[in-house]
């Protein structure tokens, strides 16, 4: 260990920093990342995070496949994404270094656990020699190589803990160093550790000791040339919490039950990356949420539709493969005209694809993935916190229009996190979900007799005198009884389609970020919002005439979209797929041929790669 020189290091003020913590999937990097995030949030920084982990729960220790990471971008200015390029890489072993070093900004800080660079680990990572001895590494990065294994053991000498337990504390050493490096007060973290390991006080104290050792090490070592501070960001006043997209979706499910006074019924089946919505919601029983883990994806949506028939607000959660399985059921919800919300957390496809990696490739299936003529509203969330509002909106539309609604999020939003301003008391307005309780026609109750918006009434079991039967067969346009009459079918198909077009009254116009006209319009949807908004701001700062429009509504498309698209010389559609929105626009606006920028690498689009593309186009 370096002797304490007593020197204080200069404190540099920085606007924003991106840190990536990487290690074995058992190393606790998700924990370290989220703890550091919490500290940044409490310090008032705006932030965004994203975890990155393998589909295997525990790949072999030290292997490349087993590397798990957590990236946090925090700053004193608006943070749009978890960051393109880490400024700091904390790599706990050679495999983590090997798989992540290429992302580290040239000149960035590499903090690594030299104790893990054993012959065995080097071999598993495919290194012929120890990369820490490589002069090029030291030339390109500020390398802080620390034997965290040894220092953790030293801090816990005489603790009586097993070697395994001692080794498991080392992530707190790394966290302690990061606290010092970014001038975070350590005290709240000590409380956190004690609360987290309340049931195992000896482990809590060990982690506290190791955390303090890491903090002290930062202070005393001369390996760091300076310490940093990131001032608080200018966020709207209020009370904040951090939310992931999946966490926010679950909060919206509970909030909807509260705002409507109706039971929300979530029927679902576990699937990565959507499972957390079901898990979180199962804790919200007191809020009026009933959860049901079905035997499969089909039964998940079936139970939700069954509950909707009974007057509950049915919702199901899934990801791509599950959405494919649910498509027949969605057709039934369309023809029966029952309210239903489907939250689809997109992942890399087709088939099992890349379960833990993000993609925006379910736009087609959301818009068109049913047999027969079966249109339905499609909404996409734009950020982790926005998953709350997108899901709430999904319920409102589904219950008002008596239709299934698909809310698209993705793995990047679902796992990613950002600060969420908790709405003030009364800020979220209650709304009425009403049932038909009286006979609506001289001939008796007519379940498909519509109002002027083409919405049918909703009478639920338990209501005397309104007993009726509905189902998947085409139905008479009034009574709902089975009808094989061709003209009636045509009328019903067109009526259902028109009803979905009528939803436009609830679709706000798009707003252009930047000037209303210009050389190039960036048009995005869903989870790419942050990257594209960030890129647009950067491009305008460079003097480019670039606007940004973000689509929340995919069906129906906003009324003014066509006109807005025409106000720019060029339109570029960045997507994490092979061009699904771009093609949909070609179909919806004949003559328009937008340019595409597509990434299908399981990651969000980087601000830097998008600005480079725009600069290439605009010359």
């Amino acid at each position: 260990m370096q002797p304490n020189t007593g020197k204080t290091r200069p404190v540099e003020k920085v606007e924003g920093v991106t840190i990536r913590f990487v290690g074995d999937s058992g190393d606790g990097m998700q924990l370290v990342g989220s703890e550091f995030t919490k500290a940044s949030a409490i310090a008032g920084n705006d932030l965004a995070t994203f975890p990155d982990f393998p589909a295997e729960i525990r790949a072999p220790t030290g292997s490349l496949a087993g590397v798990s990471g957590y990236q946090v971008n925090f700053g004193s200015r608006d943070i749009f994404t978890p960051g393109d390029q880490p400024d700091v890489l904390v790599a706990m072993n050679p495999a983590a270094l090997k798989t992540n070093l290429q992302d580290l900004r040239p000149g960035g800080i590499l903090i690594t656990n030299s104790g893990a660079y054993t012959e065995g680990n080097l071999e598993k990572a495919g290194y012929k020699s120890n990369p820490l001895d490589d002069d090029a590494l030291k030339k390109n990065y500020k390398v802080v190589s620390v034997d965290m294994d040894k220092l953790t053991q030293a801090a816990l000498a005489g603790s009586g803990l097993s070697n395994k337990d001692v080794a498991r504390c080392r992530n707190y050493f790394a966290l302690g160093m990061m606290y010092w490096l970014y001038s975070r007060p350590p005290e709240p973290q000590l409380e956190n550790i004690r609360a987290k390991f309340k049931k195992k006080p000896e482990i809590a104290e060990a982690n506290v000791k190791v955390f303090q050792a890491g903090h002290a090490f930062g202070e005393t070592t001369e390996l760091f040339v300076s310490q940093y501070t990131v001032p608080a960001a200018k966020l709207a006043p209020g009370t904040y919490r951090n939310v992931t997209g999946n966490g926010a979706a679950a909060l919206a499910i509970a909030a909807t039950a509260k705002l409507t006074g109706r039971q929300v019924f979530l029927g679902s089946y576990p699937i990565t990356p959507a499972t957390e919505i079901l898990q979180d919601s199962s804790y919200f029983k007191d809020m009026g949420v009933v959860t049901y883990q079905a035997e499969d994806e089909i039964a998940g949506i079936g139970s939700a539709i069954g509950a909707s028939f009974g007057g509950s607000l049915g919702v199901t959660t899934t990801s791509g493969p599950g959405l494919a399985l649910k498509s027949e059921m969605l057709g039934l919800a369309v023809i029966a005209e029952l309210p239903l919300v489907v939250i689809n957390v997109q992942r890399g496809g087709p088939s099992t694809g890349m379960p833990t990696k993000t993609e925006q490739s379910d736009l087609y299936i959301a818009l068109f993935g049913r047999h027969g003529e079966a249109p339905l509203p499609v909404i996409a969330a734009r950020s982790p916190a926005d998953c709350f509002y997108a899901v709430m909106e999904g319920f409102k539309i589904a219950t008002k229009w008596m239709t299934p609604v698909i809310v698209l999020t993705d793995g990047y939003l679902g796992f990613g996190s950002e600060p969420f301003r908790i709405p003030e008391e009364g800020e979220l307005k209650p709304y009425l979900v009403k049932y038909q309780t009286t006979v609506n026609d001289p001939a008796g109750y007519m379940p498909y007799k519509r109002d002027d918006k083409l919405i049918r009434p909703w009478a639920i079991p338990g209501t005397p005198g309104l007993e009726h039967r509905i189902g998947g067969l085409e139905k008479d346009s009034m009574s709902g009884m089975v009808s094989y009459d061709g003209m009636n079918h045509e009328k019903m198909v067109k009526t259902r389609a028109q009803k979905i077009r009528n939803v436009i009254e609830d679709v706000p116009d798009v707003e252009v970020d930047g000037e209303p006209t210009g050389d190039l319009l960036l048009l995005s949807w869903g989870g790419t919002y942050g990257s594209v908004r960030g890129a647009a701001a950067r491009l305008r700062a460079q003097g480019k005439k670039v606007g940004h429009v973000h689509l929340r509504w995919l069906n129906p498309l906003p009324k003014n979209l066509g006109a807005v698209l025409k106000s720019f010389k060029k339109v570029l559609v960045p997507e994490v797929n092979d061009g699904q929105l771009a093609n949909y626009l070609r179909m919806s606006f004949p003559g328009l041929d937008p340019m595409q920028f597509n990434r299908i690498n399981g990651k969000a689009i980087k601000i830097s790669e998008l600005t480079a593309k725009v600069n290439e186009i605009l010359g």
Partner: protein
């Protein structure tokens, strides 16, 4: 008031007619389904539940047109999926009486997964399965209950597959009520339906049903006058399992071989005391399972009646106990307080 704000109406006095929707059933003349709906409509006035609180949910197939003919709330859903809709409805509205109407293909082929899970959960659903051992609506293909060697349009050289024994499958899946009846045994079927209605928990009834068009005579091996008394064993709770002419034959449990055997009273010293007493309330389903499997064994009669009827807390009861406990523990939280139940920080 129920969860959804509907009042619990007092149950009026009904007649069979109150459960007829007025839509003429579109089943083939002579179809066994007529007899089944007749018995259900006859049973409904006596189940003690208001008409608007009874729901019929079906899948796809001839049997699944059933809800259209009942004057209740009803849903004609997707092939095999009726149990999933019914499960969501029952969990969300436990005060409703929910029936699932299904067939052998619907329940045991495309819907097999939903079927076994509905049984093991012990949700309070009544599943009425019409078993005609054929796909009728698609005009005559082999079904999962068709016998080995059965010649159908898709098995012109005979079915190579062994069939399901539906009550055995239900028992193996954990059903708390399992029964069997036959379409032409109206009174017997009515009794079984009433017992299922009174049961709390997943109830399964298999009804052997003749398809006069695509599988005519499927059950004549049981129902022909000449063989009937020897072929059918009528299980009655608390009574010895006797059958045959003058009830001279019986089922005995051979303890050494651990199997059931057919014996004749008065032969080899056999008396009524040797005959197994039927007890559907045994908590161990093993004997019920052995009884269910008799119909597949040569030389044994086919049992009808209630194989098993056991009361266990249902999944919907368990769910609502947990909801009640969570509400009692957490109280009525405001939305803001709920959303702020996390690590929070203030921005001024």
């Amino acid at each position: 008031m129920s969860q959804n704000g509907q009042t619990q109406n007092p149950v009026p006095t009904y007649t069979k007619k109150d459960f007829e929707s007025g839509v003429d059933p579109r089943w083939c003349p002579g179809c066994g389904d007529f007899s089944i709906i007749n018995q259900v409509q006859k049973a409904m006035p006596n189940v003690g539940v208001a008409r608007e609180n009874i729901v019929f949910i079906s899948g796809i197939g001839c049997s699944s047109r059933f809800p259209y003919y009942m004057n209740n709330y009803g849903m004609h859903t997707l092939h095999g999926r009726a149990p999933s809709f019914a499960s969501g409805l029952k969990v969300s509205r436990p005060e409703l009486m929910v029936w699932v109407i299904t067939g052998d293909g619907d329940a045991l082929a495309i819907g097999g997964n939903h079927f076994i899970h509905t049984m093991r959960r012990n949700l309070d659903l009544k599943v009425l399965m019409f078993n005609n051992r054929i796909y009728g609506l698609t005009k005559g293909q082999v079904s999962p209950t068709s016998e080995l060697g059965k010649k159908t349009k898709t098995t012109p050289h005979g079915s190579p597959d062994y069939p399901f024994n539906a009550p055995a499958l239900a028992l193996g899946s954990g059903a708390t009520f399992v029964a069997r009846s036959i379409d032409i045994e109206g009174a017997h079927m009515g009794g079984v339906i009433a017992a299922a209605a009174a049961h709390k928990g997943s109830a399964f009834i298999e009804v052997f049903q003749n398809c006069p068009v695509f599988n005519d005579g499927a059950y004549t091996f049981l129902t022909d006058k000449a063989v009937k008394t020897d072929a059918i064993l009528r299980m009655e709770a608390g009574k010895p399992l006797l059958f045959g002419k003058d009830n001279k034959k019986g089922i005995r449990f051979d303890g050494q071989k651990a199997e059931l055997e057919v014996v004749t009273l008065g032969e080899n010293g056999v008396t009524e005391k040797d005959i197994l007493i039927h007890d559907p309330t045994r908590s161990d389903p093993t004997i019920a399972f052995m009884m269910a499997n008799l119909s597949d064994r040569a030389g044994f009669p086919t049992p009808i009646g209630i194989f098993r009827s056991v009361r266990k807390p249902t999944a919907d009861e368990n769910t609502w106990e947990m909801i009640k406990a969570a509400k009692a523990k957490k109280g009525d939280s405001s939305l803001r307080k709920f959303l702020a139940d996390a690590d929070t920080w203030e921005v001024k």
